[in-house]
Point group: C2
Chain length 355, copies 2
């Protein structure tokens, strides 16, 4: 039943051989990967300045290099996802060796941007909580440019502490990414992708294998995982569920978040499977888009809340700083709850449409 309403009823692969459809998609993504890699090298991706460069001279190159890294991750995720969903069509040795390498690469490249976005989110929240109208998005992409005039001492100190900690983490992530891109491990991945761009290692049976049951299985894994989510609770506004462990002694990431993160990954795999099947003509499913955005927001808010809690464990901070970080943590956990509500609302829409 799940795949019935997750996939359009027509069969776009009719007439073309299943293996060819998958090979075309993988070749296109591999080509895109190589193009982004070239662009990343040309725009100073090998330079020493982190993505959020404050010097205007390095800004353009840094921004373009950030775009190139994003595009690189985008195709790496799509290749990896397709290898997973359409496993039976591909040479198992090759594809099983390839996936962890792609995951390593996109994980390494994602970190720098994640720290930068986290800092921007937290400083924006501090401003909002201080009743200040100015948000980072209105002052350009530089989160440090947020006016601190209206902030209380605690909020300003909390902002400075988060800025210090997350900027350090970002700089380290930047170095790690540079190191990764220069490593022999990376060159091996790039070589594999280059091979993929010309020749996809399909199994002999690939031509006769139907892609649709495999895509449907991905859709099923998604709907099963969604069914296991506490959606009834999430659909009740202000259920106060997300902050339930807000003061627990456990410093590990909240276990209640894990199933939502898992659904986020499965939703992505489902989306990629649809892209393989329907290609460029793939109709944009507004509902999947909204659900995916809610889950991205869920992940970002959960990580920001955790960063605020971790900053509060810095030794010798002032009580006012700790207080502001506590307010900030709770605020981001409520964002987590709001994102779950938004996901429930988006997902619900489909249930209504289904007869």
């Amino acid at each position: 039943m799940a795949q019935q309403h997750l996939d359009p009823p027509t069969d776009p692969t009719a007439g073309s051989v299943a293996g060819d459809v998958l090979a075309d998609y993988l070749r296109a993504q591999a080509t895109e990967f190589l193009r982004s890699l070239r662009q990343h090298r040309e725009t100073g991706g090998g330079g020493g300045t982190p993505a959020r460069a404050n010097s205007s001279a390095g800004e353009n190159g840094s921004e373009e290099s950030g775009d190139a890294a994003r595009a690189l991750r985008r195709s790496a995720r799509r290749i990896s996802g397709s290898l997973h969903t359409f496993r039976p069509l591909l040479d198992p040795d090759w594809s099983e060796a390839m996936r962890p390498e792609l995951a390593w690469l996109s994980g390494t490249l994602a970190r720098e941007h994640a720290y930068s976005a986290r800092l921007e989110r937290l400083l924006g929240a501090l401003n909002r909580l201080s009743g200040s109208a100015a948000l980072p998005s209105q002052t350009g992409s530089d989160p440090a440019a947020v006016p601190k005039g209206q902030l209380t001492v605690g909020a300003a100190k909390a902002g400075a502490l988060l800025d210090r900690q997350l900027t350090l983490a970002r700089t380290r992530a930047h170095s790690a990414a540079l190191q990764a891109l220069g490593s022999s491990r990376f060159h091996a991945v790039a070589d594999s992708v280059a091979v993929l761009a010309s020749e996809v290692p399909l199994t002999p049976a690939a031509a006769a294998t139907d892609l649709r049951p495999l895509a449907a299985a991905a859709a099923d894994r998604l709907t099963d995982a969604v069914a296991a989510l506490p959606l009834v609770t999430a659909g009740h506004p202000y259920n106060a569920e997300a902050l339930v462990h807000g003061l627990s002694a456990d410093t590990a990431p909240q276990p209640q978040d894990a199933p939502w993160h898992q659904v986020r990954l499965l939703l992505r795999l489902h989306r990629y499977a649809r892209e393989v099947l329907y290609g460029e003509q793939c109709p944009v499913d507004v509902r999947l888009l909204a659900a995916g955005q809610a889950l991205n927001r869920h992940r970002d808010a959960a990580e920001a809340a955790s960063a605020a809690a971790s900053a509060a464990r810095t030794p010798r901070i002032a009580p006012a700083t700790a207080y502001a970080l506590g307010v900030l943590h709770a605020d981001q956990r409520h964002e987590v709850e709001a994102a779950r509500f938004a996901f429930q609302q988006a997902w619900q829409k489909e249930a209504v449409r289904t007869p």
Copy 2:
């Protein structure tokens, strides 16, 4: 239009003289006031133990005395509210002298209970935020009995700090209430109420005055005040409005709360006016009840949030304590937001029913 759907369509005062209806109501409330006062004196309301007595010997007396104080406040509020709404029917000098005295009395008597309830709310929230299942309501009425085993150091210290501060405030409020009940000012109020119980000072025109336009005016004041509330925002879950000044430098009560507090008072006056008109047969309006409960919760959460913020300004507290108080403050401000949403939902129900 407002009073059309706020009041039942029948005219229960038809056949009886308006002045008599109001006089009957006031006499009944005055009698109830005197009865509660007697009960309060008999059950040790004049004793030295605050309402939350820990000794089992004083517990019953203290509980009954608390009930008596509540009943005293209940009738004081009703008398005061009726004097206000039906002003033109009553001797102006007498009624204008009486109202501030009744307000002083019920305000003085309310404080002790308010501090006790606030502490219970905050300790309950600290437990909830620590992922502890035990809530104060399950361990009896004594908030100090909340198990602290699962609390982090910060949450436990925050709880102890709040316990200290609010218990001190409650003890002071208890003494102030005792002092008030022994004062000549109080005896003057009690004497006035005793007069009211036998003879209501109506104006000569009272018999010919219609109560309904006056009750309708009270209903109009309520609907006008509700119309001025930001209900569209409140109706969007997770609008993050209540925490907007969560970290602002201003330590005064949040100005955004004031119109909601005002609606709470006007809702009460409207309810009392209905009681005067319809007496004991007054149909219970579930919607008014739900709306009123939401506004009580709004007030309680706002004051609890403010108590947490004020505890965080205690000199020389540990950062972990301050952090827990920050989380607690934000949690209670979200309760404020949730209460506004609940009010909007309750109020909305009527709008749907109205053609």
